[in-house]
């Protein structure tokens, strides 16, 4: 397979000299960030697509070997930057699996709420962007207005709107406040109206349906064989959702459904995401009314979270724990072992393969990026379709280049 534009052009000069080579990206409004496709066209039909990635490679996994378990959470914000909270939850879920920490019930509920709000905000952007890319601009504005509400919730929760870095080993940065809970309640009340509006705008919209139905077909067998996960796999009929299959955090306590479709085309992927937002909202509504009382961080015995100021100033254990955690080369007791733990991130299975070596820095922090795996299916999905379908397929796979290249 040719890699560069020059190779592809040289191929085209041979027997297939009627083929035309088009460079899509690295800067293109529909690639959303920086990724490049080399398309071979027969008229307007795509004969082959060659993805060329790495434009945003920034060595996140190498950084993971030099930043400690709390510092690295800021880097996970920058992976899938349209739902940073979900990455934070995924990272510390993996770290806590390695360290063997059992969270407090209150922390589990808070993390469930933020993970589901992150899913809603991710799905709003990805469905909004597919609408935008195929020409439904109004739809995008409806979606983005509600994302703004979720930013407000996150801002009152942790002070940051975009790169939240909210979780900590064994807990979260701050406890949830009544103001935040009021905002979440307002959102839970208002949001269903927006989903209704969004569905009315697109579900039976002739242009949108024509451009997404039967485009980018992914069969169930291909989805499994190609390691797909999340909404992409579920739209192809793979009923796999880690929230149900291996319940983590507080998901066992809530009533929700796994949304699947069997069509496997772009419309199905859009539709599954829309349906998942309703289910996520159900989880948020149940969780926010049932947050257990009690401490949000694990106790002093675990020696992982910074103790409260009262404990630091008034007890010797608190003072010692505080200094141990803050000083270099002290801190966590990490086993010399390897674990893999994953969560159901908005985009699919987001997991970290962690190798601990006894120090408070991971020996290896491998991220399993769903975008990377989904993008590998792209040439097969687009082959035989027209040039204008590229944006529909890219949008429906929800490729986030920062997570793709890391």
């Amino acid at each position: 397979m040719p890699l560069t534009l020059a190779d592809a052009a040289a191929d085209a000069e041979g027997a297939q000299d009627y083929l035309w080579t088009l460079n899509f990206g690295p800067q293109h409004p529909a690639t959303h960030t920086t990724l490049r496709l080399i398309l071979k066209l027969d008229g307007e039909r795509i004969v082959d697509a060659i993805p060329d990635l790495g434009y945003l490679h920034s060595g996140f996994e190498k950084l993971g070997e030099h930043l400690d378990y709390n510092q690295y959470v800021t880097v996970t914000d920058r992976m899938n930057y349209i739902s940073p909270m979900a990455n934070n939850v995924a990272w510390h879920h993996s770290v806590e699996t390695l360290l063997g920490i059992e969270l407090t019930p209150r922390c589990k509920y808070i993390r469930t709420i933020i993970a589901e709000l992150a899913r809603i905000s991710d799905h709003l952007l990805s469905t909004g962007a597919i609408g935008l890319d195929v020409g439904a601009f109004t739809f995008f504005l409806y979606a983005f207005y509600q994302r703004e509400k979720i930013y407000d919730i996150f801002e009152s929760l942790c002070g940051a709107r975009f790169t939240n870095s909210y979780t900590r080993v064994g807990g979260v940065m701050h406890d949830i406040t009544p103001i935040t809970i009021t905002k979440i309640r307002e959102f839970v009340n208002d949001f269903p109206r927006t989903i209704d509006d969004m569905e009315r705008l697109l579900n039976r919209n002739r242009i949108f349906v024509d451009r997404t139905k039967d485009v980018g077909l992914l069969s169930k067998e291909a989805a499994i064989n190609r390691s797909c996960s999340g909404p992409v796999a579920r739209a192809s009929g793979v009923a796999r959702d880690l929230r149900k299959d291996e319940p983590y955090l507080a998901y066992e306590d809530f009533d929700f459904q796994v949304c699947c479709s069997t069509a496997g085309d772009c419309f199905a992927r859009y539709y599954v995401r829309m349906a998942e937002m309703r289910e996520s909202l159900k989880i948020v509504a149940q969780a926010v009314e049932n947050i257990p009382a009690g401490p949000v961080n694990v106790g002093l015995d675990e020696r992982t979270t910074l103790p409260s100021k009262q404990q630091v100033y008034q007890t010797i254990e608190g003072t010692i724990t505080h200094f141990e955690l803050v000083m270099a080369n002290r801190g966590f007791e990490v086993p010399q072992e390897e674990t893999y733990a994953a969560v159901e991130a908005p985009n699919g299975e987001l997991g970290f393969y962690l190798v601990g070596d006894g120090s408070d820095v991971a020996y290896r922090a491998r991220c399993r990026p769903p975008s990377f795996i989904h993008f590998a299916t792209f040439p097969d999905l687009i082959r035989g379709h027209t040039l204008s379908d590229v944006v529909a397929v890219l949008g429906s796979l929800n490729i986030i280049a920062a997570e793709l290249d890391r």
Partner: protein, 166 residues
């Protein structure tokens, strides 16, 4: 979810030299490199581990008590029973190589390319083993432990183009 003990028992009776271990409810099986493809084929076809979740590698250069330089990990999952199993292969320098599993799972294609790119593990029988994230001109494998975090990088390997040449 942990793996049924029957699966591990069946693997142990069928293949020699495999070493299962468990940590925090996760089952890992270390397999000799020569038997990797057979073990994975058995797991996929007989025991329904139909999903290849990830392929990754760890460089154990300065790792305490490590006997091998590289460990390649294959994370498998069963989409029906939600079991998970990690298969590990230990490799050594100078020519770390293992057979490719693209014939079993199409999804391994890019994952193996990334491991080749970052660690220089050669996957025998891979249809298209090229660098994926780094440019082709790159010579090092940066996730190896002997590659420094900081420094002037690889820029001396790339020619400087003037506006006229570009």
């Amino acid at each position: 979810m942990a793996v049924r003990p029957e699966v591990i028992a069946a693997l142990e009776s069928q293949f020699a030299g495999i070493a299962p271990s468990e940590f925090r409810g996760q089952t890992r099986v270390t397999v000799p490199a020569a038997q990797l493809l057979d073990v994975l084929t058995t797991l996929k076809q007989t025991h329904d581990f139909d999903l290849l979740v990830d392929v990754t590698c760890v460089d154990y250069l300065n790792y305490r008590d490590a006997t091998n330089r590289f460990g390649v990990a294959y994370l498998l999952a069963n989409t029906t029973t939600a079991e998970r199993l990690t298969i590990r292969v230990m490799l050594d320098e100078p020519n770390p190589a293992v057979s490719s599993v693209v014939s079993l799972w199409e999804g391994a294609n890019w994952l193996e390319r990334e491991v080749w790119d970052m660690f220089g593990i050669h996957f025998e029988g891979h249809p298209d083993l090229r660098r994926i994230l780094l440019p082709d001109e790159f010579t090092a494998h940066p996730l190896r432990k002997d590659y420094p975090l900081q420094g002037r990088g690889e820029r001396h390997n790339f020619p400087v183009l003037t506006r006229g040449e570009g």
